[in-house]
């Protein structure tokens, strides 16, 4: 019953022609057709910025994969469909990818409502949905075709709590979190871990993503009299909170989740984010070879721009996809099975990524404790701020 509509055929043959032109070597391989991945994510709408960051990470990873000879001589390409993070569009895209025999697996979507609404279609259609930013605890429970390299908050938040409580010595915390499924889950894991380490959580405040003004929230925080602020935020809202906290005269230590790790955080926050601590998965001077390669490659490709956390997620995801396709080939079921077989894929976030077959997630994210010093992210030297 499935057939390809004309438009995709035209697009596909164009891509194939381009592939042929760029890599004439591929034309002599057994099959010159590029291997096609589907990406469902926001390119327009309120989350559009994350879609564009994904693209940067994907493109860098693909350049490197191609330079290393592609997938057994074949080119790896992706078809990015804009979902606006809207479940209505992500289900249509899911159906589109499932019915398109050239697509071997899918990456995305960004938000939980959009991703998890599409999961049943991918599961029934037998196409892997590889959600690399999907931290919702139920995402991989959608079925055995759902796999995720998103850092589990059960892993990440205790690391952040250890940084704040054990290393920085904070005893009484105020937690500000995005009131989304991610922020809420993270908060719960953080609070649990922080209490285990002996700190008191004086107040937790959830805010919606569109919020820009945090002054009144910060009065609540001030009245709770904490000695540290924990931000479970993205970089744009994290920068806003830090700025306003300093403006209203809060001088407490600020400690933030890795999702603020972006040069934009410093650009938007300015002096206010000076001395902000953050737990991340890698850092600029990281001696790990995969990180050095990622940062150097990224800067070279994008005019000196520093990569951020979302760039790293998508870069890792594309490398993982390549590793999986190398093992599984182009058969959709074999690709699903290959997820359980890939071992120690080089990864910026995990160092070496191997899936836990039970949870279909990767455990053991790397940890780096950073601080902003003179407008730069630096490894924390252990000195109090």
């Amino acid at each position: 019953m499935s057939n390809i509509d004309r438009r995709t055929l035209v697009k596909g043959s164009l891509a194939a022609m381009m592939a042929g032109a760029a890599f004439s070597r591929g034309a002599f391989a057994q099959s010159s057709e590029p291997i096609l991945l589907g990406v469902s994510g926001p390119l327009t709408g309120p989350n559009a910025q994350y879609g564009t960051q994904w693209k940067q990470g994907f493109d860098l990873a693909l350049d490197e994969i191609m330079a290393a000879g592609g997938i057994n001589g074949r080119k790896l390409v992706y078809q990015f469909e804009d979902s606006q993070s809207d479940p209505r569009q992500s289900v249509a895209i899911a159906q589109k990818f499932v019915s398109d025999p050239r697509i071997v697996m899918e990456l995305g979507d960004f938000s939980s409502p959009a991703s998890m609404a599409a999961s049943p279609i991918y599961q029934r259609g037998g196409l892997v949905q590889f959600g690399f930013t999907n931290s919702h605890p139920d995402f991989t429970k959608g079925g055995d075709f759902m796999w995720s390299t998103s850092v589990s908050q059960a892993d990440e938040q205790p690391l952040l709590a250890a940084y704040a409580v054990r290393r920085l010595g904070l005893k009484k915390l105020a937690v500000l979190h995005l009131n989304t499924d991610w922020g809420r889950t993270s908060r719960d894991y953080f609070v649990k871990a922080a209490k285990e380490y002996g700190a008191e959580v004086a107040v937790t405040e959830g805010y919606i993503a569109e919020e820009r003004d945090f002054r009144s929230t910060l009065v609540r925080v001030r009245d709770a009299n904490p000695d540290g602020l924990i931000l479970i935020s993205y970089y744009s809202d994290g920068a806003l909170i830090a700025r306003q906290a300093r403006q209203v005269g809060l001088k407490q230590v600020i400690c933030a989740a890795s999702s603020v790790y972006s040069p934009k955080f410093i650009e938007l926050g300015g002096e206010a984010v000076e001395d902000v601590h953050l737990g991340t998965r890698y850092f600029p001077q990281d001696p790990r070879p995969e990180v050095k390669k990622f940062i150097a490659g990224f800067k070279a490709k994008y005019g000196g721009q520093e990569p951020d956390a979302f760039n790293a997620y998508s870069y890792d995801a594309m490398n993982m996809a390549a590793a999986v396709v190398k093992i599984g080939g182009t058969d959709r079921r074999a690709i699903r099975d290959a997820f359980a077989k890939v071992k120690d894929v080089s990864s910026v976030i995990f160092g070496q990524a191997t899936f836990d077959v039970e949870s279909r997630r990767v455990k053991g994210a790397m940890n780096a404790e950073l601080v902003v010093r003179k407008g730069q992210f630096e490894l924390w030297d252990g000195k109090p701020t």
């Binding site: 019953m1 499935s2 559009a48 469909e81 499932v98 609404a117 499924d181 609540r220 938007l268």
Partner: protein, 607 residues
């Protein structure tokens, strides 16, 4: 105690920011009785022009303000001349839709030019802070307050004492009479749009500097808060808009103080509903003021509907019914399933907005109520999915009608604003009422559609199911429209005073319309919940409400076939433009504008 002083100051600071947008909205509403949904986009454009001026051209602040004001005014003039003036003599609702289309286009143009990444917009004022209470204020707070209050005062003086100001007020009271008295109404409109846009642009820039952050998502939020503030103060009342903004800021701040951050917007929208119910013309409308809408129903102008013969409809239905038997891809079927689900919502809205004249901007709330009810019934109480969906429809009908009933006494635009607020309130209640709705985590693992024990999981069976549900609802509604009840609905829409004189009880008929409409929307939401298997408070958002209204206006108000046609068009077009990737929403906006321009009564006309 000092905390309360801080909450008060913070409330005033934020209110200050809202005032900048609200004043521009109030000015435009005062003259053209139009809620300008593009005001937020002009604000966005202003912010990015400000960024170019400050970061690329290094202009000093006074020059930056002049550049931004001039450029934004130019945008405003272009909007007025090419977007709205051609619609002058068409249906009252067409300009409203046009401003929505314009805002799509402007937002997308900004996004394509500057990328969606947020940018820093550094303040050009010295960074000194003054201690006030427990917090501090900076020079930008004062500048924003200064711009807001000065512009409100200037406008007040301009409207009261200058000749053009008189013309503006004359035009706002009675366009035709003003024209007969020799007022150049077009010039007046131009002046108003220019001023409002300049103000909007400057406010976008100032707010950007204030937060040191601009991004393309700021436009819708600015419009929403601006509209709330404006209506609280009394739509069209410029000083009222300033007071309304400050009040809104205070209510939000106290709301945060008492209940916590995640309740903030709940209070903003509750304030709006309370004000609308108690003082429908806003807090500062004088009792003698003429009603904001004409007494007779020119809000939705009658037009000659396109009559489609029954056999043609039957043939079309038959073609869609047998479509899955042909080799069409599942993608096409899924897109049509989306269209049928949107069609049910549009049927609901076209009844409520088109037939009885209550233009709702919060219709997604009915979807959400239906979806949550059905999901929770089937998960928690193991109710069979088919029954759970019907339960969702009933709950949506009951709860939706109850929530909306306080606003039955409102007219025209005020109904839209009240429903917009109710929609937001429902979404925020879902977010905060964790014991029932599971809050931001949402509900996952919702069982798939099933009927009489058979799971409907193949796209083909879901297609047939949703198509037949929609067709049944459409037939019922078609029958309703030709009945006595349908005629009563239309009588209320066309002239509610005459209808009342005939002994029709307005509230009862409006309730009936919302009960029918709520049921259809709730069913659509219920099916969507089982289709998606996961829902949270963001699944059914404001954008969906706006989309539904667009569908209804596009198809022709009150027109059952039009609603379905509109759904197919507005689900299909963005999918067809997929090949244009980032440009597709831009193209969609332009197509929408062209449709409004050349077919303002909708594709099939109002019934």
């Amino acid at each position: 105690m000092s905390s309360w002083l801080d909450y008060t100051i913070n409330g005033l600071i934020v209110g200050n920011v809202y005032a900048l947008v609200a004043v521009g909205l109030a000015l435009i509403f005062g003259v053209s009785r139009l809620i300008n949904f593009a005001q937020g986009s002009i604000y966005l454009v202003g912010a990015y022009i400000g960024w170019v001026a400050v970061v690329q051209l290094h202009t000093p602040l006074p020059l930056t303000i002049i550049v931004v004001a001039a450029a934004a005014a130019l945008v405003g003039l272009i909007i007025e001349r090419f977007g709205l003036r051609p619609l002058q003599n068409s249906v009252r609702i067409a300009p409203l839709l046009a401003t929505i289309g314009i805002s799509f286009v402007l937002d997308q143009l900004v996004m394509l030019t500057f990328s969606p990444n947020p940018r820093a917009l550094p303040s050009q004022l010295p960074d000194v802070r003054f201690q006030v209470g427990g917090g501090t204020i900076g020079p930008l707070d004062l500048l924003i307050a200064g711009v807001g209050i000065t512009s409100a005062l200037l406008l007040f003086v301009f409207l009261r004492y200058s000749k053009l100001g008189w013309a503006v007020r004359a035009a706002s009271q009675d366009r035709d009479a003003a024209m007969q008295m020799g007022v150049d109404v077009n010039r007046v409109n131009q002046a108003v749009f220019g001023i409002a846009a300049a103000l909007g642009g400057v406010s976008g820039m100032l707010v950007g500097m204030y937060y040191n952050q601009i991004d393309t998502a700021m436009s819708l939020q600015a419009t929403l808060k601006g509209v709330v503030a404006e209506v609280v103060g009394g739509a069209g009342n410029v000083p009222g808009a300033v007071v309304g903004s400050l009040l809104l800021g205070l209510v939000e701040s106290y709301g945060v103080a008492v209940f916590g951050t995640s309740y903030r917007n709940l209070f903003a929208f509750l304030l709006l509903v309370v004000v609308l119910v108690l003082r429908p013309n806003g807090l500062f409308a004088s009792a003698r003021q003429a009603p904001p809408e004409p007494l007779t129903g020119t809000f939705i102008a009658p037009s000659r509907p396109v009559r489609i013969p029954r056999w043609a409809l039957a043939v079309a239905a038959a073609i869609f019914a047998i479509l899955p038997l042909f080799p069409v891809s599942f993608y096409v079927l899924q897109t049509l399933i989306n269209a049928w689900l949107l069609g049910m919502l549009a049927l609901s809205l076209t009844l409520v907005a088109g037939t009885i004249g209550q233009v709702s901007l919060g219709h997604a709330a009915l979807l959400a109520i239906g979806a949550y009810t059905s999901a929770l019934l089937s998960l928690t109480f193991a109710v069979p999915v088919g029954l759970a969906i019907i339960g969702g429809g009933l709950m949506s009908a009951a709860l939706g009608t109850t929530l909306i009933s306080p606003s039955f006494r409102l007219r025209g635009h005020y109904v839209s604003i009240a429903t917009l607020a109710i929609g937001e309130i429902v979404s925020l209640v879902i977010l905060n009422w964790e014991s029932v709705t599971r809050g931001p985590i949402g509900i996952s693992g919702i069982p798939p559609l099933s009927l009489f024990g058979y799971d409907l999981i193949s796209p083909t069976s879901i297609y047939w199911f949703s198509l037949s549900v929609m067709v049944v609802l459409a037939l019922l509604q078609g029958r309703l429209l030709t009945s006595h009840l349908g005629r009563s609905f239309r009588a209320i829409r066309d002239d509610d005073i005459a209808a009342r004189a005939y002994g029709l009880s307005l509230n009862r008929y409006k309730s009936l319309a919302f009960i029918f409409g709520g049921f259809a929307a709730g069913i659509s939401g219920g099916i969507a919940a089982h289709l998606y298997s996961y829902i949270n408070h963001e699944t059914f958002n404001t954008q969906q409400s706006i989309l539904a209204l667009t569908v209804v206006i596009l198809g022709g108000l009150g027109n059952v076939v039009g609603a379905i046609l509109g759904s197919v068009a507005l689900v299909g077009l963005p999918e067809m433009f997929r090949i244009a990737a980032e440009y597709r929403i831009l193209i969609y906006g332009i197509v929408l504008l062209l449709l409004v321009r050349f077919r303002p009564q909708g594709l099939l006309g109002t019934i």
